[in-house]
Symmetry: C2
Subunit: 132 residues, 2 copies
């Protein structure tokens, strides 16, 4: 494949994608946690997990694909529910073992029908303040 100006990953897409996949650090089960955040409101929608192939698909298809730990299969978000996640930006953290995705969420992110998976169970922790 030759490089082109509209390549998704820099000027040498295959090699740069491979470099990202090589740099990503998967856990002992071969998974990387992915935080999914609505790109405009910055609401955190959910945490999912990706294996190497799910990460590759997510970075190249414009749609978020997870690895379902419970079903042990690829899970392209929205294929069943219609509640797709369109990729707007992605970054690895400082030690490359967590992914942060900015997405356009269609409909509800949570299988409960809530917009965010974190709308379900707010806690009431002790609040801390910086007194310095």
């Amino acid at each position: 494949m030759t490089a082109s100006l509209d390549s998704p990953i820099g000027s040498e897409p295959d090699s740069q994608l491979e470099a990202v996949l090589a740099r990503a650090t998967f856990d002992s089960a071969g998974l990387l946690p992915a935080i999914v955040q609505q790109f405009d409101t910055h609401e955190v929608l959910m945490l999912g997990y990706m294996n190497r192939e799910a990460l590759r698909r997510t970075l190249t298809e414009g749609r978020v694909t997870f690895w379902s730990r419970s079903r042990q299969e690829f899970w392209r978000k929205g294929d069943t529910s219609g509640h797709a996640q369109f990729v707007r930006a992605a970054s690895l953290d400082c030690d490359s073992d967590t992914l942060l995705l900015q997405v356009e969420q269609i409909g509800a992110a949570c299988h409960t029908g809530e917009h965010s998976c974190f709308d379900v169970d707010p806690l009431t922790p002790t609040i801390g303040f910086n007194h310095e």
Copy 2:
């Protein structure tokens, strides 16, 4: 201990805290991933891990405490660096296996000196759009 009006966790603090700790679902290593988000800007700062005791301390002390997987010890954020995280809100997700924390971050969240651990390595994924 008797209940009081200024209890951090509802009117029966001990029992409600215990209920939260019982509901939280820890993985096979006894850990719960915790997404840390700046309370006002909604920037995602980092992902850390908590065991049951780190979660208990975080929900009761007003400061975020992780379990360091690399050092195998409690890690109250900021005790060494000064870059503390003060708890402003917390929620469990729909299946109680991820925590989302809203914090006031003092200084840099990342050990690299970056404000967020995700400032380090932005990727260039294929961007997706909803064409329906």
